[in-house]
Amino acid sequence: MTNALELHDITKTYGEGDNMITALASATLAVASDEMIALIGPSGSGKTTLLSIAGGLLSPSSGQVIVGGKDISHASPSELTEVRRSTVGFVFQSVNLVPFLTARENLLLVDELRGSRGKQSRDRADRLLDELGLAKRLNNLPSQLSGGERQRVAIGRALMNEPALVLFDEPTSALDTHLGEQVMELIQSEVKGRGTAAIIITHDRRMTHWCDRTVTILDGHLQTDELATAG
């Protein structure tokens, strides 16, 4: 079975000469097609850089990146855009929703960008929002939703294009523990229910038990690869 993500000896550096900073050093990682991984590490350790390379937001300085069976190591910006649109789902740490679009329209936006619209898209968006417990909030703008609801809409949007890989950048950082647990449970349910792979960046070790395994990163080096003890 094809892995959802394969990173082979990935290095990412910024600057040149004495000013060169290595954000990611010889990182190698494989994520199975239905696997959920927690990626933990302190600030500045390279978590977001790894996530960005995995999602086609950033190109590596060296190494090979394979997403959904496609090598994107040397993809052009336009090809990377296509990969993000069709193969990867994102839930970012900060801005996740377009403020002038309703919950439903935020999901439909994904299909609009693919040039696909119509009843099938609307039905899919409605079904996703229903699964996420937002059936009655379809037509609400983000400003009319709570933090937890906004995060659920973002998860729905990330799943809208039926991605091979979903990347979550600290999805619970703005939520309290109880709400964070709820959101993680929802992520696990949605991701596992669809047989989709996921990488979840988190600072909170209490959330790692929802994942199949935990990968630690420190100073750009992938350190540990441990199996989850619960969940």
Binding site: T48, L51, S52, L57, L58, S78, T81, E82, R84, R85, S86, F90, F92, Q93, S94, V95, N96, L97, V98, P99, F100, L101, E105, L108, L109, V110, E112, L113, R114, R117, L141, R157, N161, D169
Partner: protein, 384 residues
């Protein structure tokens, strides 16, 4: 388009204000153009809306028909020029007139006003050369003592059936037709036959043995352009041949009026450019986080840029409609000031506004094109 429409729908007040601002600018541009065309039309409409494509002035008249007289020698020389098809006289003079017969009750029979007469050949080889081209009612003169009057002055004793008398006590001209925008020197204007014109001139100057045409009106033979004809006619000494358009544009006073009002119109266009450009740019900066998110989830740069241009187009189009409505509502009051409004003007201004809107949006488009999707991973406030 989806994004553009949704955003407008969700920020009605903001976009309505922009539409009204653009509408006001469009109204001001339409007003200035109407004022310019109205003024020029009243000054020189008679030359603009007569049928001859080329007019020949006396060189000493400095392209002013009122000071121009073409001598018989010059007339004969002009007729011999290569490329001349038909050539005839066109007379222009200002007279004091009264209205012994008028439909308008407000016009008293002994009231004296100034009116301009244009005389052209209605028979012979040059028949119809110099006739008004914008007849709106009635007919052209077919015999002596008939005339076509400027329809702007119909309520001042120049309606069809009214009689205009050259004072003191001379030729009487019956108005048989009305034509649009044929005023000259902001006066009531009547086009009559060359014979009638000569008779009117002799009323004012009984001792005159011959009446010289003010200008010669010329039509080229088939296959010769107006410009070529003008070049050929330039070989005759003591005259200045001009195409109809040049005769209008270079008429004394018209150029300066055009230049002044065109400067005002230019300033309004620059203002519109800045208003639209700044507004779209501010909107773009305000939603840069959303645009970054969209880039991150797979929106191509061109998709976002086209959406921005579509939004600018919709806003400008609505602004043009708003401006046209303002102009249409107020135009009845402006007609008395000589301000004209037409759909062709609106079309030109509308297309111009659209281009201005697109140019104004360029800064915002450039900003959109510079958005990097990686910024979506940065915390708020850190995005580049």
């Amino acid at each position: 388009m989806f994004l553009a429409i949704r955003e407008i729908k969700r920020a009605k007040v903001r976009f309505t204000l922009l539409v009204l601002a653009i509408g006001l600018l469009v109204f001001l541009v339409l007003f200035q153009i109407g004022l310019r065309d109205g003024l020029i039309g009243q000054f020189i409409g008679a030359l603009r809306h007569q049928s001859a494509p080329v007019l020949v002035f006396d060189a000493q008249a400095r392209k002013n028909i009122e000071g121009s007289r073409i001598s018989p020698d010059a007339q004969a020389a002009l007729a011999q020029v290569d490329g001349v098809g038909r050539i005839g006289p066109l007379g222009e003079s200002t007279f004091t007139v009264s209205n012994p017969v008028s439909r308008a009750k407000s016009v008293e029979k002994d009231r004296l006003i100034d009116a301009v007469l244009f005389g052209y050949e209605i028979t012979g080889p040059a028949a119809g050369l110099g006739a008004p081209t914008t007849l709106t009612k009635g007919r052209l003169p077919t015999g002596p003592n008939e005339g076509v009057a400027s329809d702007r002055n119909r309520s001042e004793g120049f309606d069809i059936g009214d009689v205009v008398r050259i004072e003191p006590g001379g030729v009487e001209i019956t108005v048989v037709g009305l034509a649009r925008d044929i005023n000259y020197s902001v006066s009531p204007t009547v086009f009559v036959s060359w014979d009638t014109f000569q008779a009117a001139r002799k009323v004012r100057n009984p001792d005159a043995t011959v009446v010289f045409p003010s200008v010669m009106v010329v039509e080229p033979v088939a296959g010769v352009s107006d410009a070529r004809l003008v070049t050929n006619l330039s070989t005759v000494s003591g005259v200045v041949p001009l195409t109809r358009a040049d005769a209008v544009a270079q008429s004394p006073g018209v150029a300066s009026v055009s230049q002044s009002l065109n400067t005002v119109i230019g300033l309004l266009v620059i203002t519109a450019l800045m208003v639209i450009g700044l507004f779209i740019l501010i909107l773009t900066v305000q939603k840069s986080s959303s645009l970054t998110l969209m880039r991150a989830i797979g929106a191509h740069r061109r998709t976002l840029a086209l959406s921005l241009l579509a939004q600018a187009s919709m806003v400008v189009f609505a602004g043009v409609i708003a401006g046209a409505i303002m102009m249409a509502l107020i135009s009845p009051a402006l007609n008395t000031l000589g301000v004209s409004f037409s759909f062709s003007q609106l079309g030109v201004v509308g297309v111009g506004a659209m281009i201005v809107g697109w140019i104004g949006s360029l800064a915002a488009v450039l900003r959109v094109l510079r958005i990097e999707p990686i910024n979506a991973t940065l915390p708020p406030g850190m995005q580049r």
